[in-house]
Symmetry: C2
Subunit: 431 residues, 2 copies
């Protein structure tokens, strides 16, 4: 992509009410635009990152045997009334009336998915069911100062699984938990599985996937030795305590509890039979008896992940994208000479690398080299390539032309041949 053709350039100004690092950088670098409080447009750069995040999630969810689909966003009041959440979730849910019919906007999909499954199942043979979609969620949250980490309209992957028994549910539940850890790892996020309460969803113990971060709105307590972790709402103790899990396991050296702020990037809920009982949704078991369907739900906030990555990966110059989710692989800059031959060389390199499947953002704007360098750092693409009369002179003849290769994470670049550039990029693509 030629930067001159890209909508959403870097900007000097951004809305003054934005205080979080993620919102500031995403707005300045042209990844998002703000429509209103808690609502952002994904500009082409931000859209590309979210698509890469979604693709990683999709691959890992498919690997668990789940099916992708898409449920509507505008829901009839009647279905939400079956569980009582039309009233109990009134604060968070946008509700409206038109032509004497009442609707709610999706803040989650449990009731809707249960209605769908009950229409399409009868006997134990029809289970388990594992379905997910990427869709928009609307939540009228009290305003936090967290930018895209807490939107009123945001993108989420929500997976639902329906089972004939708790045992079957938990088997899949922990399979998804593993898939979540793998998913986050592929995006560069080291998530902890943290025990939590169920909020408006369930009374069972649920699990959050938390990434340690100073700016996180959540507080978690975790053991520095074992995998014990609980969030603030349910942890009964304080920082510095000996780890209760280590103690109960009889460890001679019990770990110590650490307190940390963190960002919740995912959560999983073993909802059980509450929804099916309230909605009168029973299946026929192998012995002919009627039993309530056992439900679990699993969420990852795709746009929240976008913000989390910026919070974790940035310096004072801008964003530093992990390779797996970077909007492009390479940021290409040409420093032209008086004969205007360098740009022609850069055009050729752009075409040839693009032809090899390398994703390039080619800064072909008529602005100063200084601005291009600054924007390369702000936008945060992993590799910066610079071609100039100076770099070309380093080679011995046309075939040996050199290019400056610099990683966003490193201070200094190195001069390498075009062949070597291609080798390295191909290698990175495969990994």
């Amino acid at each position: 992509m030629r930067y001159s053709n890209l909508f959403g350039k870097t900007a000097r100004d951004y809305p003054k009410d934005e205080v979080s690092v993620n919102a500031k950088y995403l707005l300045k670098a042209g990844f998002i635009d703000k429509l209103m409080a808690g609502s952002y447009t994904l500009l082409p750069l931000g859209f590309r990152v979210v698509e890469k995040i979604k693709q990683i999630i999709r691959e890992e969810m498919d690997a668990t045997g789940a099916n992708e689909m898409l449920m509507p966003l505008l829901h009839p009041k009647e279905i939400w009334n079956e569980t009582g959440r039309w009233d109990s979730a009134k604060d968070i849910m946008y509700q409206l009336k038109k032509d004497n019919k009442e609707y709610g906007l999706s803040f989650t999909h449990e009731e809707i998915v249960m209605d769908l499954i009950r229409k399409r199942t009868q006997s134990f043979k029809d289970f388990p069911i594992k379905i997910y979609h990427f869709s928009t969620k609307f939540r009228d949250e009290p305003r936090a100062k967290s930018g895209i980490l807490r939107g009123r309209e945001f993108l989420m992957k929500d997976l639902y699984s329906a089972h004939v028994s708790e045992e079957d549910l938990y088997k899949y539940y922990w399979e998804v938990a593993d898939a979540y850890i793998k998913t986050f790892k592929r995006m560069g996020l080291d998530a902890k599985i943290v025990e939590a309460g169920g909020g408006v969803f369930t009374k069972n113990i649920t699990h959050e996937f938390q990434v340690l971060s100073e700016i996180g709105e959540d507080t978690i307590y975790y053991c520095n030795s074992c995998n014990f972790a609980q969030n603030k709402e349910i942890f009964q103790g304080k920082a510095g305590d000996k780890c209760p899990k280590c103690l109960s396991a009889g460890s001679r050296q019990a770990g110590k509890i650490i307190e940390s702020n963190s960002i919740e990037v995912g959560n999983i809920f073993p909802l059980g039979t509450m929804y099916s009982e309230k909605m009168g949704f029973y299946f026929t078991d192998s012995d002919g008896s009627k039993k309530p369907v056992v439900l679990a739900s699993y969420g990852i906030g795709s746009t929240r992940v976008l913000g989390t990555l910026v919070e974790l990966y940035h310096d004072d110059k801008g964003i530093i994208w992990p390779e797996s989710v970077a909007p492009y692989n390479v940021y290409l800059i040409a420093i032209d000479n008086e004969q205007k031959t360098i740009v022609k060389e850069a055009d050729k390199i752009y075409e040839s690398l693009t032809g090899e499947g390398i994703e390039i953002l080619y800064d072909d704007r008529d602005v100063s080299v200084g601005q291009k360098f600054n924007d390369a750092d702000l936008i945060g693409i992993p590799i910066r390539l610079v071609i100039s009369a100076k770099t070309l002179r380093q080679g011995s003849g046309q075939a040996e032309n050199k290019i400056e290769w610099k990683k966003r994470t490193e201070e200094k670049g190195e001069l390498i041949s075009l062949d070597e550039v291609l080798n390295r990029l191909k290698k990175a693509q495969k990994s």
Copy 2:
């Protein structure tokens, strides 16, 4: 995909209020489920078709230099008020109030995209802008009996282009018109470009992309000789008239006007400066003067295309998907023998073809062969492969095992080798 793992099997019953062929077949074959009047879930099969439709649109829009992005669905009243459409579009737009703030749900995005562009442009150098997204639209339409052709919640690709002059606008406008014709052709749709009025969007002449169909809600008049076509609202004449375009071109043999029902699958609007003038959105031209930005918008209803394809491509047994948008390439059926060896053979073929990148729906259910054959016809995947003791016996030895290959469009199958199956499928993939 093993059919046993697919959510959304074929069903005998469907909601009785559905009278259209598209809704009946899509519901029966397990492509969609109905949430409420005008609102459908895309089940995994339907989701796959819509993703293929989207990918074709995406490739053709990208080829015009447009950038993909994503705008929010919940909009502040203030922006819609700038053009007066908060009031004038009240019938069609879902509006709501929460905590003393008023919002509208996206039925289109002109105002929102103009607000976005005005924040990010200043001078003529920043134009043209070509941006699009796939997003949900909400329209409170009077109920028609057209199934997924006219939803209250549906998916649309909407592209917006902003220009410094009418001349520049129309240059791109006709480029998109060509891209639309190509897009529809790739999906198996032969669309006509039809002149139309602009509804709540503009007073200019706009263009619809209409596919002839008996069940279409629209009526168009077109020439059987030249490319003249107008919709009912603006055509001043009647069926059987001599074509006014042929006449004004001085043709010796003027064509005849044909009247037909048709389905609108896309539309393009040269909106001009009405929106920018009402919204006070002016750019600085090269001579320093301030001029209103010139806008156009371009829509394709992705879920409407899904329904249109079923209306055009079906027989009394079910759907007949064009290859380019079929949910899978192949429907595989094994007719097992007493020794239960055929299924093992089918498993191997399934694994080996899947490994070659062929998309297979493998009907591994424990149901009668008759039901599998019926469901294969109902679901409408282009190629049906059947393996049985009979087909295997036709070959001379293991390497020569034969499989029955039958196209959904043909009555009779033929016995061919696995190598030949793979050759044909690979060839189809490339084309």
